[in-house]
């Protein structure tokens, strides 16, 4: 059933990465990206690759599932690698055809670029693969909370995100049902020019919006019935705890930084 869908590409198994606090993971991804952009020598790239491989292993997400996420950006990658490969002017020439030439510097730069891109994608998709969207919003809410003092409506933003997330699976299921129901009434969503296709959307969009408004209405009444009156004076059940897995993440972060600094010092 479509209600089993999960947003993004969450892969629900139990692993140290899944157990980590979402905030730790989000900060980690930012940290990881920074490290990746700081990396310059081949050794640093090798270290980052090894670390990423370790993280993938720890996440218990099958490698095939992860590489699937790489496909959509394959063209972008080819383009970047190609540009670096042919357009690097420095270094000794290895091969030449007309104005195109490949230098040894070009090969190294292109290879680094490819590795960096692949690691970037894998690293950040590990966040969405191991964190359900629900937990992710909770984490975002907490990360935003300090900004409430600056006038950011963090409660309202979080409430909106949370309600949206709560209802996305419901609305997806509803959309699927409406599409099938109209298909059963002979509706055709696939053939014809763009105008015809847009017109063909009305039998889906009208009921979907009517339904969404009906739900919003009912939900508002239900929230009122439970004494909802905005963010002021509210308390909260959820407490994010810094667990053992988060401690490990911190240790890894320090270790990785130390290793990179060591490499930078040694190879200087």
């Amino acid at each position: 059933m479509l209600r089993d869908i999960t947003l993004g590409q969450y892969y629900g198994v139990n692993s140290p990465l899944h157990r980590m606090d979402p905030r730790t993971k989000m900060l980690w991804v930012i940290y990881y990206m920074t490290l990746l952009f700081m990396a310059s020598s081949v050794w640093e790239y090798a270290l980052m690759t090894a670390f990423t491989a370790l993280a993938v292993k720890a996440s218990r997400v099958p490698i095939g599932f992860i590489t699937r996420g790489l496909k959509p950006i394959a063209i972008l990658m080819l383009l970047t690698v190609g540009l670096n490969l042919f357009m690097t002017p420095t270094g000794s020439e290895l091969w030449r055809l007309g104005f195109l030439k490949i230098t040894d510097d070009g090969v190294v730069i292109a290879a680094k670029m490819a590795v960096r891109l692949v690691l970037l994608i894998i690293g950040s998709s590990l966040l969405t693969l191991t964190t359900s969207p629900i937990v992710l919003t909770g984490g975002i809410e907490r990360l935003l909370a300090p900004f409430a003092r600056l006038g950011l409506p963090s409660h309202e933003i979080a409430m909106m995100m949370s309600i949206a997330l709560r209802f996305i699976p419901t609305l997806m299921e509803e959309t699927d049902k409406i599409i099938k129901a109209q298909t059963s009434r002979g509706a055709d969503f696939e053939s014809g020019g763009p105008i015809k296709r847009v017109k063909a959307m009305a039998p889906i969009l009208v009921p979907l919006f009517v339904g969404a408004f009906r739900r919003a209405d009912e939900l508002a009444v239900a929230m009122e019935c439970r004494c909802y009156r905005g963010g002021s004076g509210r308390t909260s059940l959820r407490r994010f705890a810094f667990g053992r897995d988060d401690l490990f993440a911190l240790i890894w972060a320090v270790a990785l930084l130390a290793a990179i600094i060591t490499i930078k010092v040694v190879t200087r």
């Binding site: 209600r3 089993d4 359900s132 629900i134 919003t137 949370s162 309600i163 997330l165 709560r166 699976p169 419901t170 009906r214 739900r215 009912e218 939900l219 009444v221 239900a222 929230m223 009122e224 019935c225 439970r226 004494c227 909802y228 009156r229 004076g233 509210r234 308390t235 909260s236 059940l237 959820r238 407490r239």
Partner: protein
């Protein structure tokens, strides 16, 4: 504890006002389990929405646990005491995790975290959903969702729970789960239950049935008494449990079948007894 005096209300639409409640007089005592029956448009949902001031009387007065529902100042006090469960389980669950939804009302009331934790856990255990506290609500069955909704209200420690067709969208096992929970809350915690339903087998389980039609109360009494009036109920667009219908059909066929039988077991017993004594007293 609930007292409606000449309560009138109408919905205002483009084509003028349509009276939904007409000079309603209802008295419900604390701890009662009341089923309200009536076909769609009989005013039963409108009455339910009056009970926690989602709608307020146009004329007349409604007091609930001593609070006048027209008094805007005590609306939160009122809603803390009168919880509502609605028909569509999907459209009343706010949070993306079960226990957080149960906590929603308490968060709104500003209950401290430790107290909240205790009340949320207790409410979840009462409706037997504690093992699902970390689940996503959209993956639960209809009956489970309704039990989560009930837990969310229970955590606010209300005196009364109003259920507006809570089983209409559920399958038989979901309906049974909800009914079992509601009955238990009534018996063990003494919570007043006002249960609006189309299902006669659910109404049978109440202490008292109120039948509404055209915004008025047309029948009021214990289920055994109400369901003996088969013709009248049918005329109101309602059903009777098959056991009651069978007894009624037998009486129509000239057999002196007893009134007030609503469930299978007593029905079997009564007919078996008539069969044993046949030829004596039961043929008129």
């Amino acid at each position: 504890m609930i007292k409606a005096e000449n309560l009138s209300f109408s919905y205002r639409g483009d084509e003028g006002a349509a009276a939904a409640l007409k000079k309603l007089n209802i008295d419900i005592a604390g701890g009662e389990f009341v089923a309200i029956l009536g076909h769609n448009g009989s005013g039963k949902s409108t009455f339910a929405k009056q009970l926690n001031a989602i709608l307020t009387p146009e004329e007349g007065r409604l007091t609930v646990f001593g609070i006048d529902t027209s008094d805007e100042g005590s609306v939160f006090e009122l809603r803390k005491n009168v919880g509502m469960v609605f028909q569509n389980p999907d459209n009343q669950i706010v949070a993306t995790v079960v226990e957080e939804d149960v906590a929603f009302g308490l968060e709104n009331l500003g209950v401290p975290r430790d107290e909240m934790r205790r009340r949320v856990d207790e409410a979840l255990k009462t409706v037997r959903m504690y093992d699902y506290r970390l689940h996503a609500p959209h993956l639960l069955s209809g009956g489970q969702k309704q039990r989560v909704a009930i837990a969310g209200i229970l955590a606010m420690e209300p005196k009364c729970i109003v259920l507006d067709e809570p089983t209409a969208m559920l399958d038989p096992s979901g309906r049974a789960e909800v009914m079992e929970t509601v009955r238990r809350l009534n018996r063990e915690k003494g919570i007043t239950i006002i249960h609006i339903t189309h299902y006669m087998d659910e109404a049978v389980k109440a202490d008292r049935c109120i039948v509404m039609d055209g915004g008025e109360v047309v029948m009021d009494g214990p289920p055994a008494e109400i369901f003996a009036r088969v013709e009248e109920l049918r005329a109101l667009g309602l059903d009777v449990p098959q056991a009651a219908e069978l007894m009624y059909e037998l009486r129509k066929r000239g057999i002196d079948a007893p009134e007030g039988i609503l469930r299978s077991a007593p029905c079997v017993e009564a007919i078996a007894k008539m069969y044993k004594d046949r030829g004596t007293a039961n043929v008129r």
